[in-house]
Symmetry: D2
Subunit: 352 residues, 4 copies
């Protein structure tokens, strides 16, 4: 952390800042520039707010130097983390595709989707039972009944389940039915939920807040990790910008940035990230080309009858075509689809 | 809701949309333009997703016509709502100032602040016991102990308490100590919390999500209102933009927009909205000049020792000066400070 | 400027950065933290790109310390600058209101507006002759003819003219007819235009780019100032954000921020900043309450017939009411309207 | 265009709007909903501002239905446009890579770069002679001398030139030296420049404004097209968002959106779109995977000595590696690199 003094700050202000730095157990390191004086704060600055020094007389601003996250950083753990969910590894060499309907609506709808995505090569089944909806008048999900349908269909089709948990009290219930707990964009900074998901030890899919910075996403992950749960998969799902032609702006740069900053796996949600079925395929290809470890894709057998997010769900035949395209992209970037039987007869097993 | 067909969409697509509209219980109304065909959906469109029709063959896009909120709208209730908190009315003629420290840190700190803001003319005491912090390594608030300090000091000084509730399970506890439940920017779309706050019947201060639209803020209020709790005060607290010189961009336009759309009271948080103590006074004056019903201001006796948000907390003497300025602005816009004794000897009682 | 080395950067990388700093004529100042090494660059960093050092081996990032503008800064000139336009002073004690139609449409329209705004107390007449329009199919302004109408009506009514110049070749022409050259939001970084406006020596009204940072606005002003033209008035006019209910988000915080950073006068355009006539009055009051030196307001005798920006132009009677409100706000913040005869009989003359 | 009347608007207001619509030569089409009345405006709405009707009594808002651009739209021209620049076709089947230094700095630097990018397979040479710089104190480009170096090296190496033109007066000069005129992000709405570039008939590379919507980009193209110059290539180069870890957020969705809306070729600038050399490769791969027709990439033989944008320029060896990756991605999406000799011996010639 560096404290930048105002132009012309008197010596007594500088001395007071130095004293304040030292009182907090840090070493102060003065640097006298031609126009301003800088005071370096030497030590682990993470637990202190930069604002602490900003209120002192004569201080212009404070510049943090260290990234505020620790357990999530590549400095802390240089090797990539692999997260297991019922035999499927996210973050290994193989690309993992999680697909399914936005909402669980009925046994028939869920089974039809599950068989279709499994057939097309998906590795996990996604589907919402508890749905965060902007309007209290919209369909809110089937709740507990939806979870039971997910369990039942998962067992029948043989795909692990990813589903959203919206509030701390529901963690044990969801954990019983799902292989991975999804924390949605609106709950990325729901700290009670992050703590509870952390304590559960269960794999967590943490979606970036729609207006959260990458640093804040990593700080949210840090809440889970600091509860000794290292099974965290990060998900870029589009951010809010001024552009109105898509529901969100998929931040494709985030994949590369996260790769440099963290060891955690990174997947992309092209359905939320675009909001429009016709844009899902290009966004999905782009994500894998940019280095994502997987995708979370919405698929519905009859989008025109869907009870939520109808416009962005792929039909099974669109999804099947996309899976073929993704395999080609994966190979072009030197990866395979998870579990893919390669030309030379070897099964690609992530991380093996 | 208007369904816009693609240029050159065939008659059978148009017919199919008309059928779909009618199957949902609405009347369809065709309008044949020179380039495109429009299909009006006649009826209360609120419960249906526009996306529902977007997936149909030949549809270009769907334009919602009605605002999606109902109970929060001026159409539903044309007269302003007044929210009572322990004898203080928010949304009446008098401007209400809620002031206090960002976090409750100790009995001494809280008492010192409470006496100072009361002396300066504040109407309620704010202070966080449970704190949503970006970093798990930052001070997280005193929790239950902080609540008890708030209760104790509130009784001693005679100011009602506003404090944040972060998770549904804490609603009963906070309700016992506070006159108003604050729902913070990160929890504006924490639906379980909104429902619980709604069911409590207790006054709610709902802060706008830092990247939520005004419409989304009103939809969040609708969650509380639809639980038959009409005691909701809205709070503009700055939104996230590309501008880096302030922590957030205070959306001053939101005050006027909300006035037109809703009957609920609107206050402003100039401390969060600027992130910097020196900018709090201009932002506060602007808010009252633009028509806000009150402010939520952070005040700390020794900001340089504050455990959170140090940079944006006013010192008591700064707050006292601000209160005098605000009174002048209030008069300039034809209002008074809540409880203010006017020149002609009449006590201004909000709503009286 | 501070060069932050990567965690674990080898000594030879550190040495290479030090050499690079010294080769550019700066002094390097090492600061060895517990986790990273910092290298301070001592000297006037303004002419060098921080990026210069970012490409060196082992460098994580570079943090600029000094503000990149110089002539526009308060450090360079601590006292407020007053800009004269035909006897009207912007930036003095008096608030200056520039009002008139978005576009000059006809002699009648312009005269009717000019008399109305003069009567209501405006100090200058605004009106566009050359109009930057998003669509090539929209009305593009009357051009040269519009300028002549402005000259004629200005002389008749006795109000100085502010009008937009869109391209360097037009500067001499506009300068002949207008007391102040307006550079619009789309041209804030049109550097050829900034240079030409600088060389003209004429007063310049520089509007903030709709997605420019405050620092970029000051750098654009620096282009004009560095041509020895110090007659620059800055104008906050709303920035682009995710909020769709207003055309732009008026950045009210910018007023306070600019006050701290620069000596140049700051005015606000509440018409562009809101995009809606009913929001102009609250935004105008807020701007003056926050400390703006004036306003640029669109007024049209018959907005429903306006050829551009119809929705945001005030009717003369709305403008007249607004002027009365503004006077009250001005007094509440200890200022007067430019040229206002105060109660005690003294004429308020800005800067006098 | 649809005029939405306010809830409860009286019949006389409705009649007045109908009259206004008819007076402008359109047909009005009434649609009486359960809560509000809609008035459809039948005819080509492009030349009229929606705001025109927003000012009428009783009108709540106006919803445009048609896209405001015409010549740029797919409806107007369903087949893709191919733009020729000295024998290189942009927008055909082959991917076109334009590479070179941010700024032309010297003959040596330019020749070294040109040979390197040619060798690696680039199809055109980019390089700035006139540079738009945020600061007047930064290197502003070599100007005319830079253009002459570009011409000379272009002839020697055999690569067409793309270079930026910043002001209308320079169009003839730049046109003499360059195969394609680049209009930069800060000038996307410099209408005098767009007109002049249109009149020149020369190929134009139009970069999206850093905070312009996709619709505004197409409207800017419309300015060029409406001057009968159909040789326009669009370029996504990153937009301004709240995310601070990259200089801009590359809007990968824009590629798919533009594909649907326009027949013009679309390329991507991954150097500006990320601002950091290490992120250029993932962004480039993503762009081609998403369907871009080409890239504009910054390459410098010694980025650490570059006079502008040092941090985002690739070294020749990085560029060479990227070109190999891009070829694999191009094949994966069923395309080739422009001029690439395919396995079966046929030369891929765009559009042939």
């Amino acid at each position: 952390m560096i404290v930048v003094m105002r132009h012309g700050a008197p010596q007594e202000s500088i001395d007071a800042v130095v004293r304040a730095v030292e009182e907090m157990g840090f070493k102060a390191h003065l640097s006298q520039g031609t126009e301003v004086t800088l005071i370096g704060v030497i030590g682990d600055e993470r637990p202190i707010d930069p604002e602490h020094f900003e209120t002192l007389e004569g201080v212009e601003r404070v510049v943090p130097i260290l990234q505020p996250f620790k357990l999530a950083s590549r400095d802390f753990k240089p090797t990539p983390t692999e997260v297991e969910m019922d035999g499927v590894t996210v973050g290994g060499e193989g690309i993992v595709i999680m697909a399914g309907p936005c909402s669980v609506e009925s046994r028939e709808q869920l089974r039809e989707t599950a068989y279709a995505v499994k057939e097309a090569g998906a590795h996990a089944l996604r589907g919402g039972a508890f749905k965060p909806r902007t309007s209290p008048y919209s369909f809110q999900g089937l709740g507990r009944e939806g979870l039971e349908l997910l369990s039942e269909v998962s067992a029948e089709v043989g795909l692990p389940i990813v589903t959203e948990v919206m509030t701390p009290a529901d963690v044990p219930l969801i954990q019983k039915h799902a292989a991975m707990l999804q924390i949605g964009t609106r709950n990325m900074q729901n700290y009670a939920l992050l703590h509870e998901a952390g304590r559960s030890g269960h794999p967590v899919l943490l979606k970036r807040g729609m207006s959260s910075t990458i640093q804040e996403l990593l700080m949210a992950a840090e809440y889970v990790l600091s509860n000794r749960n290292y099974n965290v998969v990060l998900c870029e799902r589009g951010i809010r910008t001024f552009e109105p032609s898509t529901r969100f702006t998929l931040d494709i740069n985030a994949i590369g940035v996260l790769r440099e900053l963290t060891h955690l796996p990174v997947i992309v949600d092209p359905s939320q990230g675009t909001g429009k079925a016709s844009l899902v395929a290009p966004a999905s290809r782009a994500a894998i080309a940019a280095g994502a470890d997987g995708l979370l894709v919405e698929v519905h057998p009859h989008p025109e009858r869907a009870l939520s997010d109808a416009a962005q769900q792929l039909r099974p035949e669109q999804f099947e075509k996309l899976m073929r395209e993704l395999r080609d992209i994966a190979h072009a970037v030197g990866r395979t689809m998870h579990g893919e039987l390669l030309a030379d007869g070897a099964l690609s097993v992530s991380g093996a």
